[in-house]
Symmetry: C2
Subunit: 510 residues, 2 copies
């Protein structure tokens, strides 16, 4: 409520006495120079009436203001804001806003979320068909994972999910996860498991714990770009190894290892983002062998490994790691709920210790409530059942997308049929730019991520696009792919129109 | 279950067929070199019996192993692990564990959670009276904040708390927090509010966004040490300004600003951790004035400001900030629940944008579920009521601790009587070392944090201790203070015994 130049918001539901609320708010306005020296406060009765409080309440507020020297009252002249306190404040207010560009660190200067952020904003609109975000459909989530959590806390007075956990996570959850890992062929103890606030945190901690400026990191190219951002931020150099239909090209990798001796190999061997490729067994084994021979750490990002729609999962790199070179990370974002922000790492105990020291200054620990929910969901077997269900649903969706592409795709367009994961990776017909296609498809309310986002050097990937098939409904997948293919055809037409030889035909000036 | 040299764990509740479970686990053991070439797998019937499965199930598993070249079967000779696949693996296993100390980054080398971690472990024991941790008593939490959350999600199919939020946090929560800030005299819009995964994350992001190696940060001394760790990790230099009963000594600060031009002033003006001091109004105003004059940012850490037990809160630095030099951070850990890991920042929009870019690679966003819980608790007015209740409870506890100290403290010991916050700060009698007292008090099952933990340079603070009064019960506070004071007296006695002059009396050799 605004009364004669002063803004006052009273809240009768809180325990702060009303006179103190009035006092504090007027004081604030004086301190910020919003009420200038000489300003006359409204008469007590008038302010009281307009706020709907007793006159004595306003009287008390004004008395406090006088006691602290902010105002004075003179008979017949009302209550006046004093100048003495104002002087320095006025000086202060002459100062200008900081010149932010000179203030921000070198480290933070490299961050730019560019087009992807705009795409995600667009993708969240209800009238848009999104193949852009790497998320599940909201209604496909395991809502049963929440069941009983509230009662357990309130009725059983089990406060654990609301209080601090150790930085490494609750031991019971770490043990439950080591049980999951055993089923994946990794016989780790809970001490080798650390809870993360999503797997991205594991990547960021790895960057901080392992990389010094000038160090080299090797990654597949294309690759998951937020990982590259985290590595680059430490001053490390990122080098790409091409991917073919069997995963990272290990011969290329070995040449690079011989020449540059990188510190870390970042890889997503199973159902790679964005290419969808599953690294074959022979390459997995050679990768482990090379890591050991050249003494280079591997970060195995297994965000999608358990979403396998055909055949069976190939062994994790971590399951072949006899000596401790593999740091395994995964997440509950793709198979449970992304909003819980929970992931985990499996690594040598010494790595866990060092990672925990850094995590401690980052966020102390991950949400205890999220930890409790996931722990229960693992221990009651719900997570395994849910993953089986997801695999069935996502297989349908993948098939729907590939079928629609077969039906509608223009000549010259190719795409993968991934055995698992979240993404179909497409090559556009020659001469079609993925960046141009983003705008053209957006007109038809279809969004996706252009290939350029996944490459280390600019200029690459403009002939490729990544399509997520887990978020949209089956019918939206069919419709969206059709619109997308129409957009490609329209671009093809217009590029033909712009063909210089055609221009010569139309304008035969020469 | 272990059968004749192979470990197999079968889970009949998951959808992975049992033959695949057997196949994957044997394959893992071969790949890791646990089953050596020439090893004879158990006969199918024998393995089937001991696992309680059909013989055909084991047969299928063995068939897969043969198909992938891991084993071969010869009539009369059973199923044998093959050597060809083993060769490289064996080579691999000759490699040794990485030499971790050469691998970890310079950045991470400075981290050491030393004694504090041990203290916290000790503090969590049920038979120990803890004055060490800065946490609330579990039973004093606002359990009602959880009420209805589960029903809202499950029955109303409101999935928002389980899905992604924007990196800056849900707009509705940011708006609710800007409402809280208005009541504290800060008229910010939701765009100036950013959600954090606890206020420690705000400190860490500030370090990354604002500091380059060699930059200088000024902090009170003593100060909150995890903040110092985060600043130091970027290669910045930290300089301390002494604190007296009115807060940071601003004259000392100004000298330092003139000489060194630091990048950032980190301060906890309200109910400072560890000293409990509330910076007076004159100093708050001068601090703002100096920040503007020398163009230096202030990070105002307001973790304890709303826990005010006497008089009324002094105005926030942010409420006097006309030009944008103040970055305000606070947390819901001290007044709601620490396990939710939620805090917030209020700053210039350009600062919010840059902070969000860095937060994006750190953890993408904070727990959506925690955000939903806090948002509801703010909007239904529960949080204000709860804070009022906490203030009453903690006032009693503070009084109980000060009363017990008056009763039991030995001559020469002094302590503060803080007007708010979590901590009583004590000076020990001359000659008593806080570090020695830690061990002596631990024998009596009382723990606290020695002053040394809060100083920038080693050797300082060994005559001071920090006592938290919010965690222990009223009766434990009385008993714990008595034991603590007994421990001090015992140390005094033994130091008298070790007095060299007394030694001369006892052993008059010279």
């Amino acid at each position: 409520m605004e009364v004669i130049g002063i803004k006052i918001a009273i809240d009768k539901n809180i325990n702060t006495p009303i006179y103190l609320q009035i006092f504090e708010q007027i004081r604030g306005q004086i301190l910020r120079g919003e009420l200038m020296p000489g300003f006359k406060l409204p008469p007590e009765r008038k302010l009281a009436d307009s706020l709907g409080v007793n006159r004595s309440t306003v009287l008390n507020a004004y008395r406090e203001l006088k006691a602290e020297g902010f105002v004075e009252s003179k008979v017949g002249n009302g209550t006046i804001v004093l100048a003495c306190i104002q002087e320095e404040i006025n000086k202060t207010n002459e100062f200008s806003e900081p010149t932010w560009n000179h203030i921000f660190s070198q480290y933070s200067a490299g961050f730019d979320s560019h087009m992807v952020k705009d795409l995600l904003a667009l993708a969240s609109r209800k009238d848009v068909i999104s193949f852009a975000t790497g998320i599940a459909a909201p209604e496909s989530g395991p809502i049963e994972a929440l069941e009983g959590i509230e009662r357990d806390i309130i009725e059983n007075r089990n406060f654990r999910p609301l209080l601090h956990s150790p930085t490494e996570g609750f031991v019971t959850l770490r043990s439950a996860i080591s049980g999951l890992m055993h089923k994946r062929g990794v016989y780790c103890s809970h001490e080798e498991v650390m809870i993360l606030s999503g797997s991205q945190q594991g990547i960021d901690i790895a960057a901080r714990v392992l990389l010094d400026p000038g160090d080299i990191v090797v990654a597949e190219e294309p690759t998951f770009f937020p990982a590259v951002q985290a590595f680059k931020a430490t001053g490390a150099r990122i080098m790409g190894v091409p991917v073919d239909e069997n995963g990272m090209r290990i011969d290329d990798l070995e040449q690079l290892l011989q020449r540059y001796r990188p510190k870390l190999i970042y890889t997503m061997p199973s159902f790679h983002n964005p290419s969808g490729v599953d690294m074959d067994l022979a390459r997995r084994r050679r990768l482990i062998e090379l890591a050991n021979r050249y003494r280079i750490l591997i970060m195995e990002d297994d965000a999608y490994g358990d979403l396998c729609y055909e055949g069976h999962q190939l062994p994790l790199l971590k399951s072949m790691d006899g000596s401790g070179y593999v740091i395994y990370i995964s997440t509950f974002s793709k198979n449970v709920y992304s909003g819980l922000r929970l992931g985990w790492m499996v690594a040598h105990k010494k790595v866990v210790t060092r990672f925990a020291q850094v995590k401690q200054i980052m966020d102390l620990h991950s949400s205890s409530l999220s930890q409790a929910i996931i722990e229960k969901f693992i221990l009651n077997g719900g997570i395994e059942k849910h993953i089986s269900k997801l695999c069935k649903d996502y297989k349908y969706k993948r098939d729907a997308m590939c079928d629609a592409l077969s039906r509608f795709a223009p000549a010259g367009m190719t795409w993968t049929r991934p055995k698992g994961g979240y993404y179909v990776w497409c090559n556009l017909p020659e001469g079609i730019s993925a960046t141009d296609l983003v705008s053209k498809a957006a007109e038809k309310k279809v969004v996706f991520v252009p290939g350029t986002s996944f490459y280390l050097s600019s200029g690459q990937g403009d002939n490729q696009i990544r399509l997520n098939f887990t978020y949209a409904s089956l019918s939206d997948i069919a419709v969206g792919v059709r619109y997308l293919c129409e957009a490609i055809k329209e671009l093809t037409e217009s590029s033909k129109k712009n063909d210089p030889y055609m221009d010569i035909e139309i304008n035969p000036i020469v």
